[in-house]
Amino acid sequence: MIEMTYGQAIDAALADAMARDDRVLTWGEDVQLIHRDLLARFGPGRVRDTPISEAAFVYAGVGAAMGGLRPVVEVMLVDFLTVAWSAVVNAAAKFTDFSGCGWSVPLVIRARCGGWYADGGQHEQVLWGQLAATPGVAVVCPSTPADAAGLMRTAIEADQTVVYLEHKLLSEQFLDYLGGASRATVDFGHLVPLDGARGPVPENLEQIPLGQSTLRRPGSDVGLISVGVGVHRCLQAASQLAAEGISAAVLDLRSIHPLDTDAISEIADHTRRLVVVDEDYTRGGLTGEIAATLLAAGRAPAYRRVTVETTIPFAPALEYETLPNTQRIIAAVRDLL
């Protein structure tokens, strides 16, 4: 095991893949500076800066993947991926099906997501529900450095398009870059989940299969299901609830699509009460999908969801209230018991 930050773990997995396989390369805005260590190791042909042209450079990723490469196309923030929506929804997601002959699109779209650092409603979304809605793309969001590295390996080696969402609150570099954490006067310490931002990463990195969740904490009274930073908020809620004698299990989905439906049914059977904690919007997303999955599987646990119900406001106090914070999770659990 090596101790790494979340961002280091992702780049280490990417560097491993680039060293093993000449077909792996990366491009995006500012990547030569952001991933300067990769630039120094692999050169500007495989670490390419792009113009601010998401529509073209994400779509080009589809073409490059069809041409035999394994591109990791970086979109600085997932909010900007909306500019390239056609590349995801009309191309990456569809071409393997259209081909009818297994012309795969082994593309990784690496995009940063999420809030908690006051960047306003256009720079803090996660959008994973909308991304997962189109058949043909996998969507993952790791919550620890070890998962970040393992899922990056999986994403690069998968013979399909994977949207790899990297949560900014867990990424030291991006909190510094966008949240201005380099100022001695600003401290995100009370918001950043330490176990997510830094942790041990296996030296021999193994794939984490798409659609495989992991149980972060066992419990019997209520099941908390989440992904990304939400997992850490759930863990914090669970330890506070434990002090009151309430036993909460925490399931980290890791993949938004494919969804680990077996594990979801299992935790529902075990606890009979579920709270789904989603940093995405309420409608058309993960929380409804999980509810539908359970209903279709003949499960009807008591159910609450903690989601983002409005535009994410800028002012930190309003932002905190809007995002699925620990108090909101605890309130939802109490509401169920």
């Binding site: 042209s53 073209a56 073409g63 041409g67 259209f98 081909s99 009818g100 002959c101």
Partner: protein, 354 residues
């Protein structure tokens, strides 16, 4: 470096004729209700496909737009499989998942995307793959002049310049963006946008297949040598309209019949109690009639620009006749084979009614 491909007029005629005959099979099948959904034919563009693609080998890639039959035929895709796919069979080129707007063949590195403009960035991506994995190979993007108003095309060209990619952008100018005159929707000469980015542009008449071949050859050679992208701007005529059943062409072909259908709505608009001023209403009507007049003029003035007729003149008459007979037999055989595998298929699918 690959050697230059010299122009072979007999081979060019053969392919131009083959594409036209395949298009005739499909446009007829569409009229007969045997092609489900839309169909965008490439009739009028054959000289461009053949002149450009003659330069490519199996290491090169082609990104195609919604007029995909011709480029795939020129690329050597199995004709029967293509026909079956477009006619809605499940044993076709793409197992029934694609239809004519998404035809693709991995072996031949050719794929269509029905979203206008997307062929440009797809070719850019293929060109990155060429640069990394197949040095000397090129990627070609086919799109219409209407796509030069799509931001993603200009973004893709800029990316191709700054990454010095081996891309040939092929813009087929038929003067129409769907059923709107492109000139009315375009500020300035769109070629100037492209040259301003440092992409050399060569303009040719698209029906003149040997001129297309020569100009494309210069840009392909440049791209293979690592000197970056170029654009071939080939003008052409679109006698079949945007797609089969094009409403403008329906009016031109049957003005009286169509007038009966259109007049009540137009009259209702003109006579409505509320709405624009009299002048605005007149301007509305004259906008429509101007568009019809432009389509009618195109039909008259540009119908002489036929790539098949042109290519026929490049070879002796007896050779042309033999090529035509060969290709008729070939396409008829493919169409018959396609019909056999499609027998019993109904447009719309589902269970047979009572």
């Amino acid at each position: 470096m690959r050697s230059l491909v010299s122009f072979d007029p007999v081979e060019a005629l053969r392919l131009v004729v083959r594409i036209r005959l395949a298009e005739r099979v499909l446009t007829q099948a569409w009229a007969d209700g045997r092609v489900p959904g839309e169909y965008h034919s490439g009739i009028g563009e054959e000289g461009i496909y053949v002149g450009v693609l003659a330069h490519l080998d199996d290491q090169d890639a082609v990104a195609v737009d919604h007029r995909s039959t011709g480029p795939l035929v020129a690329r050597g895709v199995d004709l029967t499989a293509l026909l079956v796919e477009v006619m809605g069979g499940q044993s076709g080129l793409n197992a029934g998942w694609a239809g004519h707007m998404h035809l693709m063949d991995r072996q031949r590195r050719v794929a269509a995307d029905g979203i206008v403009g997307s062929s440009a960035p797809l070719a850019v991506g293929q060109a990155v793959a060429a640069q990394q994995l197949r040095p000397g190979a090129v990627a070609v993007a086919l799109f219409g002049e209407g796509a030069l108003n799509a931001g993603v095309v200009l973004e893709a060209m800029n990316l191709a310049v700054v990454w010095r990619l081996p891309v040939l952008f092929v813009c087929k100018d038929n003067r129409w963006s769907i059923t709107t005159r492109t000139a009315a929707m375009t500020g300035g000469d769109p070629r100037a946008r492209v040259t301003a980015m440092g992409v050399p542009v060569l303009t040719v008449r698209g029906e003149r297949v040997e001129r297309v071949h020569r100009a494309a050859g210069r840009l392909v050679r440049r791209a293979r040598a690592g000197k970056g992208p170029g654009m071939l701007y080939a003008t052409c005529h679109r006698p079949g309209g945007h797609f089969e059943g094009d409403p403008l062409l329906r009016i031109l072909r049957d003005p009286r019949g169509q007038a009966g259908e259109l007049a009540p709505g137009l009259l209702g608009g003109v006579q409505a109690e509320t709405g624009g001023t009299g002048r605005e209403r007149v301007a509305g009507l004259s906008t429509l009639s101007g568009r019809l007049a432009a389509a009618g003029l195109d039909r008259v003035l540009r119908s002489g620009r036929d790539p098949v007729r042109y290519a026929r003149r490049l070879v002796p008459a007896d050779v042309a006749a033999r090529v035509r007979a060969d290709e008729q037999a070939r396409v008829a055989e493919a169409a018959a084979a396609a019909a056999r595998s499609l027998s019993g298929l109904r447009v719309g699918g589902g269970e047979a009614g009572p």
